[in-house]
């Protein structure tokens, strides 16, 4: 087995490499469609593209479904299989299961895209009551999600068996930290698959005439949605962990066991915190709202802890090699590799995303912010800035090593994440400000016959400009990395030429690592500021309101 990740990918059996390349290609197609849908939505929203709202909703549906379900999950599945295959270096076990799972996901993609173009646009949550006049459209749409769910249940089995087989055969005493993380990741993908079935099966049965119209689709959706957008964060920190090792050779200075505990914390802290998406539901009792807020305070624990492990380990190694300054040691990181830029942007985006997520988890702020543009304003920091750029960073390591072309123009590519981040900051800042001011999400014409404040349109124009910049940068970055899907004309050299090898020497004892703690302090401080802004704005509203509960 090779010693570097690149060498290990290069020595995978050809059938494994073929599967990974095909899966990656489908993931990139989903990304491209999603970016197109998002770009059109942003331009229309900002008044820079004149389309009727119905067309806008169709593009928004394509955007949400392609990115959120198929890009994020096909990409995760491909990377899970890839990194599991090289964990011991012998390739995938039960490859047919992996192909079967992928085929189901691909079929799902086809159904979902067809469904997105039928009947009333259903956005990505597919509310059955919107399909009362056209249940056939819901059927096709939901078959996509059901097929994706089945694929997410089947495919990770191959990764799990691949990871555990060395133990079963006595070649390995225990899973490595990375192996354990991949194992947990596979499990979470399967749970997501079951959640998708649970959420979308009732609507499918209704569309087939085999069951009643699901009354609680909204609640089920919020639960599955919460897990589907937080669990990719676990994949993200696992990939940071892996990529840091690939690019610098650095391993955690806290030991494998501590990392395993932190990865396990996602299982404990993420699922119970889904209540904050439901704070505006009329049936949610007051005590559940308060409890939901309190539980949600813990949602960041695993992500922040994993971030601290990684950054402290890097800092200790960097300082051992002469790195200086609170953040100055970062200059020694391998910035020439686009994956490094991607990870840096991902970390910054995660910090901003967590700050704003913690404003939303306070139930008393839900009536101010919950269904406003604050939501897309903040979650693009996660979906695009954090998760998508991390997935692309991983692809930038995996694809060239699978026998494709070397990374296209890495000197140019490494700036694309920063350009995307610039667009994201404009989009996010304008979106969050718009949310505080009450601009609704999921509306294309926000004029409201002249009744809306003029400032709203200005903020949406800024959203459109930021969205365009980040869409163009992400598309360019994806295309550059996707070019490595093509076969190399000549054998590729070591793809990680830009990597540094800090891991060949143990760090000096007693090295300090303040960058992580200072960053966390800044994140928490920002949470205080933006939460206080929310409370102050609530207090300034010229209205008193009590209640919000409902009854049948």
């Amino acid at each position: 087995m090779g010693t570097t990740y690149t060498q290990r990918f290069q020595t995978l059996p050809e059938p494994d490499r073929r599967l990974l390349v095909v899966m990656s290609a489908v993931a990139f197609v989903a990304l491209a469609l999603g970016i197109l849908g998002g770009l059109v939505s942003a331009l229309a929203r900002g008044g820079l593209l004149d389309i009727i709202p119905l067309t806008g909703y169709r593009f928004l549906t394509v955007h949400g479904v392609s990115i959120f379900f198929y890009w994020l999950f096909v990409a995760q599945a491909a990377l899970l299989l890839g990194f599991s295959a090289i964990e011991e270096g012998r390739g995938l076990v039960r490859r047919r299961l992996a192909w079967t799972g992928f085929a189901l996901m691909l079929a799902g993609f086809g159904f979902s895209m067809a469904g997105a173009h039928m009947g009333t646009p259903l956005l990505y949550d597919g509310a059955p009551d919107l399909a009362m006049q056209a249940p056939g459209a819901l059927l096709v749409f939901n078959l996509g999600y059901l097929s994706l769910g089945l694929g997410l249940i089947v495919l990770p089995v191959s990764a799990i068996v691949t990871l555990l087989e060395p133990r079963w055969q006595g070649r390995q005493e225990r899973l490595t930290a990375v192996g354990f993380a991949l194992f947990a990741w596979a499990g979470f993908l399967m749970v997501t698959g079951f959640a998708a079935l649970y959420t979308f099966l009732p609507g499918t049965l209704w569309a087939l005439g085999l069951g009643p119209l699901p009354a609680n689709h909204g609640t089920n959706w919020h639960i599955v949605f919460h897990n589907m957008h937080y669990l990719p964060l676990m994949a993200t920190v696992i990939l940071w962990y892996v990529l840091v090792r690939a690019l610098t050779g650095v391993k955690s200075v806290f030991g494998d066991r501590f990392s395993k505990i932190v990865f396990s914390m996602y299982l404990v802290f993420v699922p119970p915190t889904s209540l904050y998406h439901m704070f505006l539901e009329p049936d949610l009792p007051g005590v559940v709202r308060v409890t939901g807020s309190l539980l949600s305070l813990f949602v960041s624990v695993p992500t922040l802890t994993a971030f601290l492990i990684i950054i402290a380990s890097l800092e200790v190694y960097a300082r051992s090699r002469g790195g200086r300054g609170l953040f100055g040691w970062m200059r020694a990181l391998p910035w020439q590799h686009p994956a490094m830029s991607s990870m840096a942007v991902a970390v910054l985006s995660m910090a901003l995303g967590i700050v704003f997520a913690f404003v939303l988890i306070q139930e008393q702020l839900a009536p101010l912010l919950s269904d406003t543009f604050f939501v897309p304003g903040y979650f693009h920091f996660f979906t695009l800035g954090t998760v998508s750029l991390t997935l692309l960073a991983a692809f930038s390591v995996m694809l060239p090593a699978l026998g494709g072309r070397p990374l296209w123009r890495p000197g140019l590519m490494r700036w694309m994440p920063w350009l995307a981040f610039a667009g994201l900051v404009i989009f996010g800042a304008a979106g969050v400000a718009a949310g505080y001011l009450g601009v609704p999400r999921r509306v294309f014409d926000i004029a409201y016959q002249g009744q809306a404040p003029a400032l709203w349109q200005g903020l949406m124009a800024a959203v459109a400009i930021g969205g365009t910049v980040m869409a163009v940068a992400l598309a360019a970055f994806g295309a550059g990395i996707g070019a490595s899907l093509l076969r190399a004309r000549r054998p590729t050299g070591e793809a990680a030429d830009f990597a540094v090898a800090w891991g060949d020497r143990a760090p000096a004892p007693g090295m300090r690592a303040w960058a992580g703690p200072v960053s966390v302090a800044a994140i928490v401080g920002a949470m205080y500021v933006f939460t206080a802004i929310g409370f102050e704005m609530m207090q300034m509203l010229p209205v008193s309101a009590i209640g919000g509960a409902g009854h049948h």
Binding site: S293, L297, A312, Q364, G438, T531, L541
Partner: protein, 260 residues
């Protein structure tokens, strides 16, 4: 040269720091948004958004109530009663329709048990709330959860004198459908408390009242009555829009609240 690990590279320190965001609880408590003995409860905005409905502690429960069709009819009655010549609906205290009319001024919404109250069998047709003595009625124990407004006939019901201008909220009905609100134009009095009773009639909708710098929203689900006590403090014209995507003309679903 140090041989011990620096505190910043110790597991305990890192693990503790991972919980850093939990400290936000302190800020919540300071704004009265978290359950602490010293917290200034209810100081977040003007709200006490606790899911329970002020004194209507049981409103959070889901139970029987009007169907969308019945709620639509109740709303139509409400509009008919309070409509002004320009079409705006202005719920207000009307002149008593009969001598000796009693109000709800002493009405305690905390004690009345709607749980056993079957409005279905009630004939409100000739009911004159103006002459009805609600003075001793205690709504505190009122269980709206099992209240059956189903066959309630509000057709000729006199709401006029049932809510004198005092602390008792005036009822406001708001129905949301694809793609309209009923009533679409409301006129309300600043300083007067209103009890909004809202329902989505077909698919899920929402209602957000916009004040220029922020708003206040609620989700509305089909077949569920959502209640909220609202008092406007400042005159103005406020936009109300739907917050939940509800189909092709979602963008155009709006209403206006004019506070005078």
């Amino acid at each position: 040269m140090a041989t011990k690990p620096h505190i910043t590279t110790r597991r305990g320190f890192i693990a503790a720091l991972g919980f850093g965001a939990v400290s936000l609880y302190g800020l919540w408590a300071a704004y009265g948004a978290a359950p602490l003995p010293f917290a200034r409860r209810g100081s977040a905005g003007h709200d006490a958004h606790a899911g329970s409905h002020g004194s209507h502690g049981s409103h959070g429960g889901a139970s029987h109530g009007p169907t969308p069709e019945e709620f639509n009819r109740m709303t139509a009655d409400f509009i008919e009663r309070y409509r002004l010549p320009d079409g705006t609906v202005h719920p207000r205290v009307l002149a008593a329709s009969s001598p000796g009319g009693h109000g709800h001024d002493a009405m305690d919404h905390g004690a009345m048990d709607h749980g056993t109250m079957d409005h279905g069998a009630m004939d409100h047709g000739a009911m004159d709330h103006g002459a009805m003595d609600h003075g001793s009625m205690d709504h505190g124990a009122m269980d709206h959860g099992t209240m059956d407004h189903g066959a309630m006939d509000h057709g000729t019901m006199d709401h006029g004198a049932d809510h004198p201008h005092d602390d008792a909220p005036l009822d406001v009905y708001l129905a949301a459908g694809m793609w309209y609100y009923l009533p679409a134009r409301l006129r309300l009095d600043a300083g007067q408390a209103y009890r909004f009773r809202m329902m989505a009639l077909d698919v899920s909708h929402g209602a957000s009242i916009q004040f220029g710098k922020g708003g206040r929203m609620i989700r509305l689900r089909p077949g569920r009555v959502s209640e909220m006590d609202i008092t406007f403090h400042k005159p103005g014209r406020y936009l109300v829009y739907c917050t939940i995507y509800c189909g092709a003309a979602h963008d155009y679903m709006q209403a206006t609240v004019e506070v005078v």
